[in-house]
Structure formats: C-alpha cells, structure tokens
C-alpha cells in the first residue's frame, strides 16, 4: 500500500506532503463512498417516507451520537463507560424539567434556547463528576462503576417524584418552534439530527488528531510514560469524560425531542447496555463505527419483529438476533463491522495486486 502511495505522489513532493497531511487528517474527503453516503443522507427526505425518516434514520443518528461518545472514550481513551446513555437521559430529563411539558407542576417553562444549554451544561457536569470517580479505576472496575451510576440513576428516577416524576416520567415535552418552522416536523427534525450527528462526527475526528486527542491515545497506550512526558493522565481522562458527556448530552436532547417524553424506561440498564452493543457491533476504532452499529440495531429492532413473526416465532425475540450478532462480532471481529469491512477490502486489494503483479512478471 505504501508503495502505491509513493508512486502516486511522486510528481511534486512539497504539494504531495501537504496533500498527504490533509488526507490523513480528513480521510473521508478522499473516499468516494463517503461522498455518496453524505449525498444520500442529504437528499433522504426526497426518497424516504416520514416513517423511515424518523423511525429509522433520525433514530439511528441519535443512537449513533450517544454511542459515538462511548466510542470516543473506549476507542481513544481505553475507558469503557456504560453511563453514556444515562448522561444522555439526564440531559433529556433536564430539557423536560427546565423547558415546557405537560407536567406543569414540574417543568419550569423556560424557552428551549435557555433550557437546552442548561441541560447540556448539567449533563456535561454529571458526566465529568462520574468520570472523576471512574478514572480512579481501570478496566472491569471502570465498567462496574459506570454501570452502578447508570443503575442508580434509573432507580432514582423511578422513586423521585419532585423532579423526575417517578415511573410515569415527563410527557408532552415541548419542541422548538422558530423562524416559522416546527423543528419537530419530520423533515425539519431529520435535518436537525443529521446536522448534529455530522458536527459530532467531525468534531470527534478532528479532536482525535488535536493535541488533546493524541494525548488521550497516549494515555490509553501507556499512561505511565505519559506522566514521564509531562502529562497528567487522570486530568486527560476526566477531560475526555467531559467531552464525551457533552456529545452524549446532545444525543439526549435530540432523543427527548424525538419522543416528546422521557421516563425511567429511557434510562434503564438495558438501554445502557444497548449503547455498548451498538458501539461494539459497529466498531470502536473509528467514529463511523457507532453509526453503522446504530443502523444495524435500529433495522433489527424495527423489522426483526415482522420477520420473526413470519417464521412463526415470537416477535419479541429480536434481541435474540442482536445477541447472536453481538456474539458473532465479538468472536470473529473484535473491531466490529468496520473491522470486517476493512479486512475484506484488504483481501480484495491484495488479490488484485497479486493478479496485476502476475501480469507484469
């Protein structure tokens, strides 16, 4: 592969160096498939019905954003956090509590442009505090602590009526209307989620090559050496939790706007684990992985029911399919679907070069 590149760029070394640096920084821009996917996503409202737009694509993008926050922590920081959905749910609850909802005795009735930043700030604070606890541990203990935070929050929302309205949750949450547009209308909301998902995706990609992201990967690879280079590894880990919490919070805000309600069921332990499954199935080595994982998850959740019923099985067994898929991925491709895809392309490429090599020889 390096041979191919060097012949390709031989013409002008200075320009090629700049170009190479650019392509390494933004690998998507050289990939025609990425352009095609982007184009399809942008013109989606012309192709898809309202059901597909919201139930499939917007839901995929929202779950993808939440799973992206886990991918950032796990892929670049080596920290598997099971509380990312909890942070998203907390942001959703805060939108409902500070904003306008059907539960007037709870909601403070702030306009959305005040309630949303407040919710994001509090969610980031929540994630940072949780992270500050979690970074004192490593590996399985990080998973346990973040799972404990998730479980504690779930039971707390169930039992607290003053703020979280117990097991009924908060209903009829208002969504933004401005410039004469109802931003929860199918097409408008699809573009909102697409825009937020794109920003999060490129932000994660950008930060991964910025000093902060590089240092985080250094901490993942060898935290003791990072300290011997002048970095404070735990400060970097906590900052990573803060960044990831902000992204998860964005996903949570979109989610509460999508369903217009939030209840303890939205932040259950099962839902937390779904995010882990989405990220792992998609692949945690690249920011695109969580979105692919979310797409597979949403497709299975939506259609496996009908398919299973057609085969005379209980439709609720769709989790069985997801579970089997999860097992298959963990067994055969530890870096998820994108790992499978990359290896498949690598194999094709190597057979192609072998064939062309045969022609020359």
């Amino acid at each position: 592969m390096s041979l191919l590149q060097s012949t390709q760029f031989r013409s002008d070394p200075a320009a090629s160096a700049t170009r190479r640096a650019f392509l390494r920084a933004w690998p998507d821009f050289q990939n025609p498939a990425a352009w095609i996917v982007a184009l399809i996503l942008v013109i989606m409202p012309l192709i898809a019905s309202g059901f597909f737009l919201i139930e499939i694509f917007a839901t995929t993008l929202i779950l993808g954003v939440i799973a992206l926050s886990l991918m950032f922590l796990a892929g670049y920081g080596g920290m598997v956090s099971l509380m990312q959905l909890t942070i998203a749910g907390f942001a959703g609850y805060m939108v409902a509590v500070f904003g306008v909802s059907g539960n007037a005795n709870i909601s403070l009735g702030w306009p959305w442009w005040l309630a949303t930043p407040m919710a994001l700030a509090l969610a980031t604070l929540f994630g940072t505090l949780g992270g500050a606890l979690a970074v004192r541990t490593e590996g399985i203990y990080t998973i346990m602590i973040t799972l404990a935070i998730g479980a504690a929050f779930y039971y707390f929302t169930n039992q607290n009526w003053a703020i979280f309205n117990g097991h009924t949750g908060i209903n009829t949450v208002a969504t933004p209307h401005f410039w004469g547009v109802d931003w929860r209308a199918d097409i408008a909301f699809y573009y909102v989620t697409l825009g937020v998902a794109a920003i999060c995706y490129f932000a994660v990609q950008y930060v991964s090559r910025a000093p902060f992201g590089l240092a985080l990967q250094g901490v993942r690879d060898n935290s003791r050496r990072m300290a011997a280079l002048g970095f404070n590894p735990n400060a970097h880990r906590i900052a990573a939790y803060a960044f990831a919490a902000f992204i998860a919070g964005l996903g949570g805000v979109l989610q509460v706007w999508n369903y217009r309600q939030i209840s303890p069921g939205s932040v259950s332990v099962g839902a937390c684990i779904d995010i882990l499954i989405i990220a792992v199935v998609g692949g945690i080595t690249r920011p695109i992985g969580p979105f692919i994982g979310a797409f597979i998850f949403v497709l299975l959740r939506t259609f496996a029911l009908d398919v299973l019923i057609k085969f005379g099985l209980d439709g609720n067994r769709f989790r069985l399919l997801i579970g089997l898929g999860f097992l298959a991925i963990v067994f055969w491709s530890s870096d998820g679907v994108i790992g499978l895809w990359e290896r498949w392309r690598q194999r094709n490429k190597s057979t192609a070069t072998r064939r062309s090599g045969g022609h020359h020889g």
């Binding site: 902060f212 590089l214 300290a227």
Partner: protein
C-alpha cells in the same frame, strides 16, 4: 571516604540532583537503602551494579514513578520528593525506560510530538497544530536527530527494535531537558547502533547532565566522567571511571563476578 567521592558529593547547593537518605521498600524488601547521591549540573555519571542492585528503582524514585519510602530528592535546589512524575518532568527532568515505553498505536511523528507537547503549554488543546506550528518544527528536527525521518509516518508497533530504542531517546530529549536518566539505552542494539548512541550522548549540549545505567562498559565509560557503583540497594563506591574500573573490590563484585 576517599577524596574523589568526597569531591563529587561536596557540591551542595548548586547540585542538579541531590538525593539524601533515599530508601524504597517493597513490602519487607528494601530495594534502596539510605542512598545519598549528588550530581552537579552538566555532570555525566554512570550507575553500575548487578541485576537487583537497585539501579532502576533509583530512577523510579527520582522520576516519581514510585515515590521513595523515606529520604528527600532535590532537583536544582527544589524539593521534589512529593511531586507527581509530570511535575518533575515539567521542571526539566527526563528519562528513558529499560524496556521501551512508547505508544505503539501512534506514528513516530506523533510519539515525538506528544513528548514536545507534554513539556509545553496547550496539553489540552482542541485545535490541531498547523504545519507552521513551532512544536511541529521541534518534532521534525528531533525525529531527524535520532535518524528516524524515513519512518516518521509509520506506527511505532511496526518499527525495528533499534529504531524503538532511538525513539525512546528522542522522547527524552524533547523540550528543554536539564537532566536525563538513561536506563540501559544500548540494550539490544547492534554495534553500529551503539556507535550512533555514543555519538548522540556525547554531542548533547554541555549543560545537560545525565545518569546512565549501562551494562556495556565500552558504552558506559566512554560517555561519563564519574561512576556510582551500587550493590544490594546501597551506594557501594563512587569515583572516576578508571578508578572504578581498576578497583579490586568492584572487579570482584561486578566485572569479574561472572555478570553477563
């Protein structure tokens, strides 16, 4: 105490590194016992001793990887005994590791860039460095200084052992080091690579002092002006290279002691 050792440790306040009564226990095992060493700024010293003599533990205490159980460590007059490692590094202390401690998932360039960034501002920067960034220049020249320009875009996991050792040294030279601890930098190097290593060490600016742990006496005694001999976690002898080399006790313990 003979006159040379006295001369070496009598520098006092102007010392680059001053260890006083440093002891490090691992459970009941004393890896270091009452170690007192003083090194002048710009001084280059070898620490010799058989395996288990406490050489690497000495380094770990100085850098704070493991803090000492008792005793004090001063770095250019400042008491750093309680500092976390990164605070010591930011004050100009550097080290290399006996077993390469690099970032295998990152490229050579990114490894060196991290080292440069670690001892400057903007460690948490969310902005990518431009091609004109001063640290990028520092990174390029450091990569060049250790002869790794040809492989600078390769992931460290793909490098040969000798190249990893050179990268290990580059990481310790980032920023403005005042004092460096080299832990067996020549381990596993070919004769050519050893010559390159000696060249790198002898061409360091005169104000940069270092301590080097090295089993290869050809390397060690050519790049230092003083020697500390350790045995069983204690300082056994201090002196000039030729004195140590010809000392009958040292020869019996270390050189003639069947080590390697």
């Amino acid at each position: 105490m003979d006159s040379v050792a006295h001369r070496l440790s009598a520098v006092g306040a102007g010392a680059a590194l001053e260890l006083r009564g440093v002891t490090r226990l691992f459970g009941a095992l004393a890896a270091l016992t009452d170690v007192t060493i003083t090194v002048r700024p710009g001084e280059r010293r070898a620490v010799l001793g058989s395996n288990g003599a406490g050489k690497t533990t000495l380094f770990n205490c100085i850098t704070g990887d493991f803090p000492p159980s008792s005793g004090t460590i001063r770095f250019f007059g400042e008491d750093i005994t309680q500092f976390p490692p990164y605070e010591r590094i930011r004050r100009g202390l550097r080290r290399t590791y006996q077993i390469s401690a690099l970032f295998p998932g990152l490229t050579v360039h990114d490894n060196v860039y991290l080292a440069c960034r670690g001892v400057s501002r903007g460690r948490f920067s969310f902005l990518r460095p431009g091609q004109t960034d001063a640290l990028m220049h520092a990174t390029e020249s450091l990569v060049q200084a250790v002869h790794l320009t040809a492989v600078k875009d390769q992931r460290v996991a793909e490098l040969a052992h000798g190249q990893q050792r050179q990268l290990e040294i580059a990481l310790a030279l980032a920023g403005a080091p005042r004092f460096i601890l080299f832990d067996e930098p020549a381990a596993g190097l070919s004769p050519t690579e050893r010559r390159e290593l000696i060249e790198i060490l002898t061409s360091l600016p005169a104000h940069i002092g270092y301590i080097i742990i090295e089993h290869d006496m050809d390397v060690a005694l050519r790049v230092v002006e003083s020697v500390t001999m350790m045995h069983n976690g204690r300082v056994f002898k201090e002196g000039l290279p030729r004195e140590i080399e010809s000392d009958p006790e040292v020869q019996e313990l270390y050189l003639g002691g069947g080590h390697e």
